[in-house]
């Protein structure tokens, strides 16, 4: 078809008598052209999403490459393969229902589309429930990001011993303690001691909860899971001990950014669901369903890589 005839037919398609398509924007020739353009734009957006996650994957790669034992220790001690696998299955299933929903929209199957969207939403919610269980277990163990991680060497309550390269002489001049801190400088000798003995520097409620370790009871005869973790932690080199909290920074940033995408996806799917109930979509116009579907599959795609990289470290 020549350019001229395309333009004429496109023009008549948009404005000709009886053929007006309410969804066709003025600057597109045909609904197909509009659909492929929208899809192209969505793919460019998905490309930038991959690049954004690429930064986190880069940080992950460098730290895992340089501290493989840290990643093995932290993943085996704190990440549950069971929950990770369950979440993988949940996300893949919700991806299936989303793809099936797009198919239903294309074939004018409104009831099926609604069922598929509701199932996808339930999958997303289930994923977040599992993630909440995992996150709160880590919060209970005091492994979170930054100073809220008991392995962070900057935290007074840290388990980490200072690396041998560090000078251990006392300072010549005592610098006054900052206002926020009753005891600004921990004694070098304090590092590695029982955490309950260390004087507080950060006095927020979280630091207090770290210091309030429950007293040992008589029933703790055989080594608990926590003690086994402690034993394995002591086998790490001093330098590796200082990098354990880096794993958790990677873990929480990667799964956290992914979790934000899941929440955004839930909002988008709810929006699609509302528009479906409003009879907005048909086989003539299903672009938003298709594009939200693409977004949801990307969320699944990223988790497909996060799961083996974080949970299945051998």
């Amino acid at each position: 078809m020549s350019t001229a005839s395309t333009e004429i037919s496109g023009h008549s398609y948009a404005h000709g008598p009886g053929r007006h398509d309410p969804h066709l924007a003025h600057h597109f020739d045909t609904p197909e052209q509009q659909f492929t353009s929208a899809k192209l734009g969505m793919w460019i957006f998905l490309g930038t999403e991959i690049l954004m996650f690429g930064g986190l994957f880069c940080a992950y790669s460098i730290y895992r490459h340089n501290h493989p034992l840290v990643f093995k220790f932290a993943a085996e001690a704190y990440l549950s393969t069971k929950w990770g696998a369950i979440n993988t299955v949940i996300l893949i299933t919700s991806s299936l229902t989303m793809a099936w929903g797009v198919r239903a929209a294309q074939l004018n199957q409104k009831k099926l589309l609604i069922i598929c969207l509701v199932l996808t939403l339930m999958g997303a919610a289930g994923f977040l429930v599992v993630k909440t269980i995992e996150y709160s277990a880590k919060l209970d163990e005091h492994v979170w990001v930054g100073l809220w991680n008991k392995y962070n060497g900057d935290n007074d309550a840290s388990y980490a011993t200072p690396p041998p390269e560090q000078p251990t002489t006392r300072p010549m001049v005592q610098i006054p303690a900052p206002a926020y801190s009753p005891v600004a400088m921990a004694d070098d000798a304090n590092i590695g001691q029982d955490v309950s003995q260390i004087k507080p520097r950060f006095n927020d409620s979280f630091s207090q909860s770290i210091r309030k370790q429950p007293p040992r009871t008589e029933s703790d005869q055989k080594p608990s899971g926590e003690e086994q973790v402690g034993e394995r932690y002591k086998q790490l080199s001093a330098s590796d001990q200082w990098h354990v909290n880096t794993f958790f920074s990677c873990y929480f940033l990667m799964t956290g950014l992914h979790g934000i995408h899941v929440i955004v996806g839930m909002g988008l799917i709810s929006w699609i669901l509302m528009r479906t109930l409003r009879n907005d979509f048909s086989s003539e116009y299903f672009t938003p369903v298709d594009l939200v579907g693409l977004y949801w599959h990307l969320v699944d795609l990223i988790w497909i890589f996060l799961f083996p990289l974080l949970y299945l470290i051998h």
Binding site: I50, C58, W100, Q166, H314
Partner: protein, 127 residues
């Protein structure tokens, strides 16, 4: 005229789409969706099983290979790339290429500055 399907090639309409299938719309067949889902679950089981076997350095590569296969299934079938204009796939490949360039080049020299990445605890900085 359609940009997705030229006139010479018949538009691939789902074989089980039924009489309601509108012209020019490609719906992924039910059997394909179910088959891809089954494969994705199967590969999830395989990747968990492989991680329990000690393959040394090969473990990470096996995990990545399986993830790439799963990702390929998701993009090709769920995300419709197999039937789309190749340009959409090109965008995906370009993004992946630049991510691998980013990660690869960053990994190349990470050993050279790693010794300087000693932990600097706060109490030493305040001296």
């Amino acid at each position: 005229m359609s940009l997705t399907h030229s006139n010479d090639i018949p538009a691939p309409v789902a074989d089980d789409a039924g009489p309601n299938a509108p012209h020019g719309v490609h719906a992924v067949p039910r059997r394909t969706l179910a088959g891809v889902y089954g494969l994705l679950i199967l590969f999830t089981v395989i990747t968990v099983a492989v991680s329990k076997v000690d393959l040394g350095q090969a473990n990470i590569w096996a995990a990545l290979l399986i993830a790439v296969i799963k990702g390929g299934l998701v993009t090709m079938y769920f995300m419709h790339l197999r039937w789309d204009s190749p340009f959409n796939g090109l965008i995906l490949i370009t993004a992946l290429f630049f991510v691998s360039l980013f990660v690869g080049l960053a990994l190349l020299d990470s050993h050279s500055y790693e010794p300087q990445m000693k932990p600097t605890p706060m109490y030493i900085k305040t001296r």
